[in-house]
Symmetry: C2
Subunit: 348 residues, 2 copies
């Protein structure tokens, strides 16, 4: 167990949660027991213990109850998939096997009405989610989710390729991996589904909104690296995470790496807040306003959730909430020196 | 060298080519010599010999000249990438190395203004293409192309995973692979860029248009399998293609496999023609009409091109054009028995 401790997170966003969170959780767990993609009671408890309903109720505090529940289904599924097939188990070091399994799952999602031949319970559950989205979301939202889902699996495959070779990526490569591998793209693609408001394509695909989406993903993913650092060390995983990248590839000590990680994260957070204000000051659609709010709730809700969830509490210990920071640990407004994301500081 | 011969292709679509094809080719080759991602004159000649300008001039016979040229840049690049890094070379059997290389390339495309650290000439050329698209296409088109590009690389990685294990996929798996691995998604994403007309998201992402896009990809990809069968046999490649899948996994002889391949292809072609007529009979946008025309040009143009290109002529021999068929070799209107695509026959 590492001795590195969490520091205050800089995230000046209101903490909120959906008023129907208990109902959403109750229904989502009933769904879990209906689709039954877990293998045994231990796995079931682990999945239930991800608090995925609470997680998404924080991402979409004003969402349509049924749609937030649909999103929560995927979050439960995603955590289960991540644990069983990405971070550990037979697929975790073998891109050969992972790609075949994940490729079939992705195609089954895109075409959720016809079950694939082999009857994999996780794939059938994903198809159930796909059918629910087809019913409660627009075709554009469904397509965006499917593309985001593939981006996630592509990122996971890349991370597995590194792990399989026992190679720690440097910060430039890791950032490009992490933009997809932490599940950020599908998780955020569900924001507009939960809200029941389709963001017009010209807005969603504009460079500024793309950048804001990516920044949200990266901050939340880096935060997850910080939250899960203890868990991963405990379980003897290969530990491809921000802290280990900075230690192994950039020569920093453990404490230095944590300071640097917060500095990087806070600089992105700052850029996010500034650019989001600029975009919101323009005459944009109501759906985009809701989405931009949702990005903020995602960053804040991700940490609110992480601080309470059994999944991560090996790190801080229960009840040991870090304080929230009033100011960024590094206020520098310049681009961070990572080529994959420098464009976020361009004129957008 | 196999003795299997091409049969007549059923493709009742007019054969057309862009009037500026020569100019497009001249400019695109000048571009090739400017970005210089080839390693030597042999590789340069091989790339030029893909006739990529002609290829895309057939896909978009009415496109904006400059935009068709931009698309041709990517086609030259894509063939070069395919030959050097997908079908042969150090990456062709190792998903570990392929994923790292392809992941970096994909991220560089998404963010084409900042070169990645390692200066890979192919990646820099891809960024040049990305910047050209950013200038000549809409943000929505750019985003669609980027997503399609990732889908392609994901499919290639899956195919490489099979090859790396020496495992021939069955028809169900191969179809899901082939929908992405042949480069169909990015090639078709450029149709609306070449046309200079953005298809509204609600139309593009509707199930019917998604199905039509996928059908076009699959017919063209299967046709490429037929065209390149001889080439791949000659070069001793591992031969994951439709014919070998049917022979190795479904117990068919060489001739039987060819008959079966044409039957499958013609049944999809028929479904495409019927569904396209249904969609076109509705009040749709002008941009969608152009796109639907483009899908037809893509299928026809792909074979018109393949019959002339040095890349494939080992199969038929120069001048040995197959006749065009007046009717499908299998007129059966029922869904083909492949779960990944059965949904194309659903009520859309």
């Amino acid at each position: 167990m590492t001795t590195v401790r969490l520091r205050p997170f800089y995230c000046p966003v209101e903490s909120r949660i959906h008023p129907d969170v208990d109902l959403i959780e109750e229904r989502a767990i009933a769904w879990l027991d209906r689709v039954r993609f877990y293998r045994d009671e231990t796995e079931r408890m682990r999945i239930v213990g991800t608090n995925s309903a609470e997680f998404y109720a924080r991402f979409a505090p004003d969402g349509i109850t049924e749609n937030v529940e649909a999103a929560a289904h995927w979050v439960y599924w995603g955590f289960a998939f991540d644990d069983a097939r990405c971070d550990s188990g037979e697929f975790a070091r073998s891109p050969h096997e992972f790609l075949v399994m994940a490729g079939k799952a992705q195609r089954a999602l895109e075409n959720p009405w016809h079950p694939p031949p082999d009857g994999d319970p996780m794939v059938l559950a994903l198809q159930d989610i796909g059918r629910t989205f087809a019913a409660c979301a627009t075709p554009v939202q469904v397509r965006r989710f499917a593309e985001a889902h593939r981006a996630w699996l592509f990122g996971v495959a890349w991370q597995i390729a590194c792990r399989g070779r026992g190679r720690m990526p440097d910060l430039a490569e890791y950032t490009a991996i992490r933009l997809n591998s932490a599940g950020g793209p599908p998780t955020l693609a569900m924001l507009e589904i939960a809200a029941g408001q389709e963001v017009p394509a010209a807005e969603m695909d504009s460079p500024a909104v793309r950048a804001l989406t990516e920044m949200t993903i990266l901050v939340a993913s880096w935060d997850n690296d910080l939250h899960s650092y203890g868990k991963e060390e405990d379980e003897g995983e290969t530990g491809i995470n921000l802290i280990n990248v900075l230690r192994a590839r950039h020569g920093l000590g453990a404490e230095e790496a944590v300071v640097r990680a917060y500095a990087l994260r806070d600089r992105v957070m700052n850029r996010f807040l500034r650019l989001r204000s600029e975009v919101a000051a323009k005459p944009v659609s109501a759906a985009l306003r809701t989405y931009l709010d949702g990005l903020g709730h995602a960053i804040r809700g991700n940490t609110d959730w992480a601080l309470r969830v059994p999944r991560y509490h090996g790190y801080t210990g229960p009840g040991e909430d870090p304080r929230w920071a009033d100011a960024p640990s590094d206020p520098c407004p310049d681009p961070v020196p990572i080529p994959a994301i420098t464009w976020w500081w361009d004129s957008l």
